[in-house]
Amino acid sequence: MTLGYLIYKLILVIIVFAVTLLIAMYSTYAERKVAGFLQDRLGPNRAGPFGILQPVADAVKLFMKEEMIPSVSNKTLFIIAPGLSLLTACMTGVVIPWGTSLNLFGENYSLQVTDLNIGILYLFGVVSIGVYGIMIGGWASNNKYSLLGAVRASSQMISYEVAMGLSIIALIITTGTLSVGQIAAQQSGWHWNILVQPLGALIFIVCAFAETNRAPFDLPECEQELVGGYHTEYSSMKMGFYLFAEYINMFISSAVISTFYFGGYNMPFIGRFIQSPNLLAICGVVFLFAKIFFGIFFFMWVRWTIPRFRYDQLMNLGWKMLIPLSILNLVLTCTWMMRHEIFNALFK
């Protein structure tokens, strides 16, 4: 482990972090723009040309706002909770392979911060920890609406983690690896996993919506019933942290969906036009980000189209539809993978 290696990793981490925050920042702008356009409006267009300085204005507003901490709240936990939310949201970016590797000055620099051999489990673990930020925040506010929002969030996330895990297991069985880097590398050309696992991809995407608390599964912050949900009592930048965490989660979910099912940084036929491996790596990053941006747009598109589920519908969908479907998907995948053994056992 040389100093150069450390510096390279440090730079990569900083870039990933900065890009994540930048995209989360502009997702807030994109959300409002997309919402506007889908509703025949124009969206924010006053701050700067086309309103592109809107996120900056929002950030300034959030920083300048008065900070309120309820006197009956649990202060320590109240302050820790938004940070925890943002922390877990930012932690997931390290295992995403943002591209292949760059060859600079005779050395290979991978564009993945770390290729853990349990990458998928790491992602899953961090996501499952993410609910603590919401739960602690909701409980520490000492407000019934917040608590109900937190309880809803936790039960929703636990319920959908099951179906998500089962659909990922089917993916692991077909790919044969837990490393996210290898999964992305396997999908070169047209070998995208969605063609192998269409049902699994569908379940995963639905669960990703539920895990990120986005509409139509945004019951933890359901305004009609719970005021603001778990962040009712939050103000100024603590509130901003929660919103930011939501947008980072959306970005990371899009990245994970693209990497798992839509080929990651791979694009079919691109190898015919570009020969240089470095250029190919850069194109890979561009393709991945194109897929991620489409994913983010898809998240917003769904949000402004589909009305929110009722809570019993949410639970029915999770436990009575998605889990049996994912188990069916798992059984089908296993059968397909073992088809030769089964054939041999039955007919020979």
């Binding site: 356009f37 889908l38 025949d40 598109w301 189209t305």
Partner: protein, 197 residues
């Protein structure tokens, strides 16, 4: 009850078919609808840069007119205040002193004249009631303020300026009959102060 349109449908709570139960076709068609709106022309009017056209008879902020030489036409008769359904108009009268003939057209004039713009409903009844063609509603908007008290407009705001360029043009609020009538200088109503002497 008679239906107002022929678009109403009777709600039928029937068992959902399989394609309805799995939600996806409905979701996809819904998303196509919203996506088609993405490219539609936006009806938004960018207000400070673009403004909507006013109709010719749009009723906005009032003006108290002066006559040709710049004397106030209002004689403080109080008919506008009586006509006002919102009771927004108040005034106090005063007698014209010698030497003020260039300021006030008649012997009696309004020392104060106030319209509460928060009460005013911009119906235009004051304009109809005025026998002296003194008050008109114009196409100017009433500005927003930070304070309720500032919405009580006095003579300083309501009376138009003496200078030619500060006069408010209200000809488009006057019917052709009125405009025709105004051409006849022999009628007392139209006579300029000096000629009356």
């Amino acid at each position: 009850m008679l239906p107002l349109t022929n678009r109403s449908k009777v709600v039928v709570k029937k068992e959902m078919s399989l394609s309805e139960k799995i939600y996806l076709p409905a979701i996809i068609s819904g998303m196509m609808i919203t996506f088609s709106h993405f490219f539609k022309k936006k009806p938004t009017i960018q207000y400070p840069e673009q403004t909507r056209e006013f109709s010719a008879i749009w009723r906005g902020q009032h003006v108290l007119k002066r006559d040709e030489i710049g004397a106030e036409r209002c004689t403080s008769c109080g008919l506008c205040a009586v006509a006002c359904p919102a009771e927004a108009i108040t005034m106090t009268s005063a007698e014209r002193k010698p030497g003020e003939e260039h300021l006030y057209r008649e012997e009696k004039y309004a020392a104060t004249y106030e319209i509460n713009m928060l009460r005013c409903i911009f119906c235009g009844d004051c304009e109809d009631a005025c026998p002296k063609e003194a008050i008109f509603l114009t196409d100017r908007k009433v500005d927003s303020e930070y304070n309720r008290g500032l919405f009580t407009y006095g003579k300083d705001i309501l009376v138009e300026g003496i200078e030619k360029e500060k006069r408010i043009d209200v000809t488009k609020r006057q019917t052709p009959e009125v405009l025709e009538f105004k051409k006849h200088k022999e009628f007392d109503h139209n006579v300029v102060f000096e000629k009356k002497k």
